[in-house]
């Protein structure tokens, strides 16, 4: 069980064997939720763990309707979650809160590709076309995006 509020109460975490750590003394609620989600996913699903262990990238996520974001610094088997957008990001995803949740609900299909033809996938694709989901740095980082999507995915 994850308590999204616990990180705020406890302050900065000590270095542990846990895969997810927080850069800030008081991680934001969004940072705690995203970090907790990834930690739970990685610990409960071996296929997500493989992706997590191989990923070396800095990914920003900005939630446009709450004006909050995080930077996820993946370091091959470890993740440091920063409050806000930090420099030197490989990818930055900007979307409304609902769309960020939808990204976590994308199913993963054959060859580890996110499924964009079911209801959730079509919704995400539509947001992309409408400009309500923006992904900066996509050129050259498509494989990274797919890996991050798999690590986020709670579906199926």
């Amino acid at each position: 069980m994850h308590d999204a509020g616990a990180g705020r109460m406890a302050g900065r975490r000590l270095k542990t064997n846990k895969p997810v750590d927080y850069a800030d003394t008081e991680p934001s609620a969004f940072a705690s939720m995203l970090g907790g989600l990834i930690e739970a996913n990685v610990e409960s699903r071996p296929e997500r763990r493989n992706d997590f262990d191989s990923l070396d990238a800095r990914v920003g996520i900005w939630v446009t309707d709450i004006d909050e974001g995080v930077t996820l610094d993946f370091r091959r088997g470890a993740l440091v979650v920063h409050n806000g957008l930090q420099p030197k990001r490989d990818l930055t995803i900007r979307a409304e809160a609902d769309t960020v949740m939808s990204l976590s609900n994308l199913k993963i299909g054959p060859f580890g590709m996110p499924v964009y033809y079911d209801e959730v996938g079509r919704g995400v694709a539509l947001k992309l076309v409408q400009g309500k989901l923006r992904i900066e740095g996509l050129i050259g980082n498509l494989a990274t995006l797919n890996t991050v999507t798999r690590i986020f995915s709670v579906a199926g």
Binding site: A29, F30, N105
Partner: protein, 140 residues
Amino acid sequence: MAVKAFSDEWARQFKDEVNRSSVYKSAAKGWKWTVGLVVEAEPDKNFPESRGVVMDLFDGAARDITVGPASDAQKCDFVITAPYSRWKQVATKELDATKGMLQGKLKLKGDLPTIVRYTKASQEMTECTTRVPVEWPDEG
């Protein structure tokens, strides 16, 4: 006719709204956990004691929704905690519950991948609360 906020009658009407919702029935298929809402006291808003809403939800239906002490709600599989005025904002559509959780305005305890998987169901449940006409203790 409006019912008192977080009263037994409110709980009955809320349960009826959930069970009337075809959207919820479909989105919550497979859900099998209890959800507790802790409504924290705000004496200056004429809400002097914390209350707990315990929701026994199963496979797209609300089997039971009751209002009691906050400690009952805290024993549920998923617990969402906020002060009275935040819940009022959610029920009057001033605050989106998903955004509220991402901002820490509503504090969530429970398995995150599970709750994220059922985002649509939780959004529809919030919609159901907005359909119950409520008499708020800090109004008139």
